[in-house]
């Protein structure tokens, strides 16, 4: 048994101290309120205990001033908590632009992770200290939740959606990774670890093992192997829309609607092609449901994203900057 008996979880990310400061603020305010009321309760209960059965205390009906006081003061304190909380939440939901993207796929009962350079891991993630890491999280089956207590981050892995989270590790070490959304029998075994390493060590770790392909290259290969390229040609002579420069842009649909071509749209178009057909095209694309798994879809998305107009994204080191819906 571990002899350690901690009361505060390890702080190992840049947002952890922000979250803890906020936690401490709420704890202080609520603590003072609770102790104050307990003392008042006990004091009144003892001080005014019944001494004889004939006691008939004088009536006090209430006091508008007091009512307003104990409505307005808690209300103001709560506004302060809310505003501070919203600020931290924004920070938790806004990854820095230079973050490296790691894709996360939850599957009963494991976490499948892929580095921007293509390395894959299961239930373990190696990351360099001090570097912002953006997580693009989805699920292959039911809902899971990616939770790293030491980083104070948690985000659900929802099938059919791409959720974002990010962290910047501040100290090396190995930290728990938990699944926090109940997902069946082995839910409590859907755990793993985040290994935070010095940047040089991380480079050594990356270099170990066979050289992998980046998700963009994998996606490009799939694009050919699955014959996507027959219809989605680079010129506009194909039966399907040209995909160059489409990602992240607004697309006009046959229904007249306009939507943004984000990761969720690309995914839906691969699996249910007839759901949202681009204006000017026939609904002739067959579904790829059952032929591609979530990781392959992520690779295809990465490839399509790399076809954005400033072709700089094609450089392998600058692999997908976003696999997630743009907000």
């Amino acid at each position: 048994m571990n002899p350690a008996f901690p009361l505060v979880p390890v702080r190992a990310s840049s947002v952890a101290s922000e979250v803890d400061a906020l936690f401490l603020f709420i704890l202080t305010v609520t603590g003072i309120a609770a102790v104050g009321i307990w003392i008042a309760l006990l004091y009144f209960a003892i001080r005014y205990r019944r001494r004889s059965d004939d006691e008939r205390p004088a009536e006090i009906e209430g006091s508008l001033v007091l009512e307003l006081t104990w409505t307005i003061i808690p209300f103001l304190l709560m506004i302060a908590m809310f505003v501070w909380g919203a600020k931290v939440f924004f920070h938790l939901n806004r990854p820095p632009d230079d973050a490296m993207t790691v894709s996360v796929v939850g599957k009963r009962w494991m976490w499948k992770l892929q580095h921007p350079t293509g390395q894959r891991e299961v239930n373990q993630l190696h990351v360099p200290v001090g570097r912002a890491v953006k997580l693009v999280i989805t699920s292959e089956d039911t809902i899971h939740s990616f939770y790293v207590p030491a980083f104070r981050i948690k985000k659900d892995a929802v099938p059919g959606r791409y959720n974002l989270a990010w962290f910047q590790a501040t100290r090396t070490g190995t930290y728990h990774l938990f699944c926090a959304e109940y997902c069946g029998t082995e839910h409590s075994r859907m755990t793993g670890s985040i290994v935070v390493m010095e940047p040089e060590e991380y480079q050594v770790w990356l270099a170990g093992g066979p050289a992998p392909e980046s998700p963009v290259l994998q996606g490009e290969k799939l694009f050919t192997d699955l014959n996507c390229i027959t219809c989605h040609r680079m010129d506009d002579a194909g039966r399907g829309p040209v995909l160059r420069g489409v990602f992240g842009r607004s697309v006009k649909l046959a229904s007249g609607e306009e939507i943004t071509a984000d990761a969720a749209y690309v995914r839906e178009s691969i699996l249910i092609p007839t759901a949202k057909v681009v204006a000017g095209y026939q609904p002739v694309m067959p579904t790829y449901q059952g032929q591609v798994n979530e990781e392959q879809i992520l690779a295809l998305i990465a490839y399509i994203e790399s076809l954005r107009i400033p072709a700089s994204a094609a450089a392998p080191a600058r692999t997908p900057t976003s696999g997630a819906p743009s907000r």
Partner: protein, 541 residues
């Protein structure tokens, strides 16, 4: 108290028969309240056994006590039974049923036969759900999250869902009955602002029951339909949206928390004023805060979903509204405490439960501020912090109020007294056991232990062992009232009509009351909780 009131009255509602038929076909709200009391006590016992299994498993980190399947079924059984079949009906169906007509000077609820019907519906729903739990079990968690429940679960989801669907109608009918009764059957002179706060609390509860329960009934039916016939409501592979389920589910299930806690707040208001022998502080603020909770409570549901990928702006709206709904609860707490000021405070068992309630509900409510907060919720949600938080509300709040109310009105219900010292001892056991069970869980959650874990990292063991030790004490704490209250029904000393010197119409009739409650329609000519004047004598004809 005069010696003549030391015998039970010759005629009362329990004397109208002890045979099965006289119970199963009764339309007397008092008897139906007692039938509910027996039914929910049974369900509480079953739910407690499930809780015991859960705590037993968590004594060790590696899950060696039982299989993961068994554990998952145990925590699901605990949640389903306690939420749908104990907490939701608890106070309204027992004390509310028994007391509302008495408190407003009526001879029964507006629809006595619908009242009986609601009990039968409850029993059918409970029986069906228990059948599902005992033959194959259920491992979805009480929340039935999709697509797990509709696609992946390998248990009796559809049967249990139908059982809960059915039981929902019992709650709707009770709410409907209360609203009509409170509107139409008040005694002459009993204006809205002379109503006991217990009645106000039930009025607010009934609004939630009527507006909220149909939503969860439909949602849970959609789960059953998707599971049986593969409709694509929630399954993303069929074009459904799993998050839609969470919106629909919490649209009811968050207000449902107020179905559990509001009646309990009503009980506290009654007891605190009687045992301080003083008019309640800020009557209209307490009454209106119940309504405010019922209304705002419908607008906060997505605070259960801050990490699902909800947009940051909607998350902000729901967080702000969550803070708003905390205000009326704070107002109530301050007013109860202020009622004691310069009062004449009697430390009897019901009042001790009030102290427990205020002390524990305070922790439950204040820890809600950590969870309604966007910044801290991300870390805390789906951990033991949440488990601890809602147990402080539902056990520390709702059940303490229920026990307090049961002890307070027990002499009215049975006409007899329980042994006071036993009441005190057991309330102490419940208080200590409860805190030992759930306080460590706040720490566990802050440290990052996720809920619904059958096995867990070793560093969490000490706190889990403490929690299980507390649960053991709590279990004994619950057995005591069960024993001495049952004992008092047969052997208790006759209590007299108004043993506490309480105000309120229910204390102006005999204990136990006659089947038709009052011999003459009472006329109300005084303000509520007018403790400055001595209690009225029972009118005996």
């Amino acid at each position: 108290m005069t010696s003549e009131s030391r015998t039970l009255p010759a005629d009362h509602y329990l004397k109208s028969g002890w045979d099965l038929k006289s119970w199963l076909l009764t339309t007397d709200h008092k008897r139906i309240g007692l039938m509910y009391l027996v039914s929910i006590t049974l369900m509480f016992a079953i739910g407690s056994i499930y809780a015991g299994i859960v705590r037993w498993n968590l004594l060790v980190p590696n899950g060696s006590q039982m299989s993961a399947e068994a554990y998952n079924k145990a925590f699901t059984g605990h949640g389903v039974v306690m939420v749908f079949f104990f907490l939701i009906p608890s106070i309204p169906a027992t004390l509310g049923n028994f007391l509302i007509p008495l408190m407003i000077g009526a001879k029964d609820l507006a629809f006595p036969r619908i009242n009986l019907l609601s009990w039968y519906i409850y029993v059918i729903g409970a029986a069906l759900t228990m059948y599902a739990l005992l033959t194959g079990g259920l491992e979805t968690g009480w929340t039935f999250y999709t697509p797990y429940s509709t696609v992946f679960a390998e248990s009796n989801v559809a049967v249990a869902a139908v059982g809960i669907f059915i039981a929902g109608f019992s709650s709707i009918l009770t709410g409907l009955n209360f609203i009509v009764t409170i509107h139409k059957m008040r005694a002459p002179g009993l204006t809205w602002f002379r109503l006991p706060l217990f009645v106000w609390a039930h009025y607010a509860t009934a609004i939630i029951q009527i507006l909220g329960t149909p939503v969860v009934a439909i949602t849970i039916l959609l789960v059953a339909l998707e599971r049986l016939f593969h409709f694509g409501f929630f399954d993303p592979n069929r074009g459904g949206d799993p998050i839609l389920f969470q919106h629909l589910f919490w649209f009811y299930s968050h207000p449902a928390v107020y179905i559990m806690i509001l009646p309990s707040m009503g009980v506290i208001s009654e007891i605190v004023t009687c045992f301080s022998r003083k008019r309640i502080f800020g009557y209209s603020f307490i009454a209106m805060s119940s309504l405010a909770i019922a209304v705002i409570g419908f607008l906060v549901w997505a605070h259960h979903m801050f990490v699902t990928g909800l947009s940051v702006y909607s998350a902000m709206v729901f967080s702000a509204l969550t803070y708003l709904v905390a205000v009326p609860s704070a107002i109530k707490t301050f007013n109860w405490t202020a009622t004691l000021f310069r009062g004449s405070v009697q430390w009897d068992t019901p009042m001790i439960y009030v102290f427990c309630f205020i002390g524990l509900f305070l922790i439950g409510g204040l820890t809600g501020l950590f969870l309604g907060n966007l910044g801290t919720d991300v870390h805390l949600t789906d951990t033991y912090f949440v488990v601890a938080h809602f147990h402080y509300i539902m056990v520390g709040g709702a059940i303490m109020g229920y026990l307090g109310g049961l002890h307070f009105w027990w002499p009215k219900i049975t006409g007899r007294k329980y042994v006071e010292s036993w009441g005190k001892v057991s309330s102490l056991l419940v208080f200590v056991g409860f805190n030992l069970t759930f306080f460590p869980q706040f720490v566990l959650g802050y440290l990052g232990m996720p809920r619904r874990y059958w096995s867990y990292p070793e560093e969490f063991q000490i706190l889990n062992v403490l929690s299980t030790a507390g649960a053991t004490i709590l279990g004994f704490g619950y057995l005591f009232p069960f024993s001495y209250l049952t004992h008092s029904v047969f052997r208790g000393e006759p209590a007299g009509d108004n043993p506490w010197g309480a105000k309120g119409l229910e204390w102006t009739t005999q204990s136990p009351p006659k089947t038709h409650n009052f011999d003459a329609v009472p006329v109300v000519d005084e303000e509520p909780y007018d403790y400055a004047s001595p209690p009225k004598e029972t009118v005996r004809v």
